[in-house]
Symmetry: C2
Subunit: 171 residues, 2 copies
């Protein structure tokens, strides 16, 4: 049977198991290397943030807010920027509010909801932690590539990131 | 001040903020592309497993067990293979046991603990879901690279994965 012909009168149902070939050995090893690096790197970076009492997602929020005008951002936009669901972000912001790192603020004259605002303590925490975090990112990832590899990986990943952002935006 | 001299009599403390340079623009864009692809891809693959009532970690367990001799693995080894903590794995196996996908079994004559064993239903689930999952992995990741990019990324990531596995093993 021609595995590319899936829409004949005899066989109107797609037959995914015949349509899509399995990964080849070369594809497989790359896929596994990607998964492994993604998972192990997150683990290692989280571990190295522990002495600062920060989860890796907390650190990301601090970075995003510290780069935002007036150190604040609408909760909806912060969820988009950090690729989290609104409900999950809301729990996280509650924890960070309890730790004194951010404040939730109503937005005067704007019914579209709440802002998350970096506190002075949040800003100081970010500045104190950032050098350690950069050192971790360099030691376990960035400094392990040649400049050519850095560029080649970027060129390869950027369109994939754009594709995935598009899918996420529609969901 | 010479930022590379950190161990003088006047200044015995390491000064990380001066030691480690920030990421350059080229490093930064690659780092962000990696983070974004890792996060968005996990999100998308999870989404596409939802119709099968499987979390992405469940799927991974099914794959690892289906590749193991006799479809079973010591819990400790399964935790290592899936890069999870033993306590987190234990919770996950409980959920999967309730769903009928795996069984915990004592190991006759082996005090070193329990095995996780793929059930017939777990094996059937894996076989039913795998074609869909491969299609997702191809559509959102693998098929978006040239063969040269696949190899270049593998060559770049493999030593990083090895480095990170080494750190994980020591922890």
């Amino acid at each position: 049977m021609d595995t590319h012909t899936i829409d004949t009168a005899d066989d109107p149902e797609p037959r995914p198991e015949e349509e899509t070939p399995w990964l080849t050995a070369r594809e497989q090893r790359m896929w596994r290397a990607h998964l492994e690096v993604a998972k192990l790197l997150e683990y290692q970076l989280s571990r190295e943030l522990q002495p600062h009492n920060l989860a890796i997602n907390d650190y990301e929020i601090l970075v995003v807010l510290s780069e935002a005008p007036d150190h604040r951002m609408r909760m909806t936009d912060l969820a988009t920027a950090t690729l989290q669901s609104k409900s999950r972000l809301s729990h996280q912001i509650t924890r960070m509010e309890n730790a004194g790192l951010v404040l939730r603020q109503e937005c005067p004259g704007d019914r579209r909801g709440l802002y998350a605002h970096l506190t002075e303590q949040g800003w100081e925490t970010m500045q104190r932690v950032a050098p350690d975090h950069v050192r971790s990112v360099r030691a376990h990832f960035i400094d392990r590539f040649t400049p050519e590899q850095l560029d080649a990986i970027y060129e390869a990943l950027a369109p994939v990131a754009e594709h995935l952002r598009g899918l996420r935006g529609r969901s």
